[in-house]
Symmetry: C2
Subunit: 121 residues, 2 copies
Amino acid sequence: MKKAPQNIKKVNLAEAGGNSLELFEYLRVGDLNDHMLNIVEAENRTLEFHSHADSDEMFYIIEGTMQIEFKDQIVDLNQGDFIIVPKGVSHRPICTTIVKLLLIEKKGTLNKDNTGGTYRE
Amino acid sequence: MKKAPQNIKKVNLAEAGGNSLELFEYLRVGDLNDHMLNIVEAENRTLEFHSHADSDEMFYIIEGTMQIEFKDQIVDLNQGDFIIVPKGVSHRPICTTIVKLLLIEKKGTLNKDNTGGTYRE
């Protein structure tokens, strides 16, 4: 019987985490070079304005809606949308209703201080 | 009137490229640190086995289906699936019916020799 190449597996974004994903819990779903892919569900949370000195940050909306607020505008993100926040740019996520999103950024970028989240790998 | 932060724009993966995307044409839709995001549509094309020495390669299926063949297995990818092919691992994409996908990899990884594609930024 053929075996899967080591460490190679496909992931379905809509199914990943299933019903076991806790709010604000980061589920690591992949590694791409020095970047990590995390899925998170959020609701009723607005973070403080912050920026990341060393990494751009990609938000991709798997299901639901959210907003990213910048100093001079608010961007509405809906299912299928992504946005890349460049390093050093002040922003804050605004989650009202429940949203499931994929985050891609350099490993070590996230921290509990500015996300309020926890991690599961 | 508020202005958008420079170089920050959201992109909808399903809508990106619209009806103007030619088969096998790579449309650059984003830059994430030293990585590029390209959308491509493909159909009826099987590439030669190849590997990328310096970058992992992420395939995310926006619409349709395709396969990635490894030396020891074939993985079916459907809408919403992604797979990350580690650097150095031999693989080839197999596209039968039309598929629209997002590719993320280090800048400079793609080349016409092993993809048969063209580029539009």
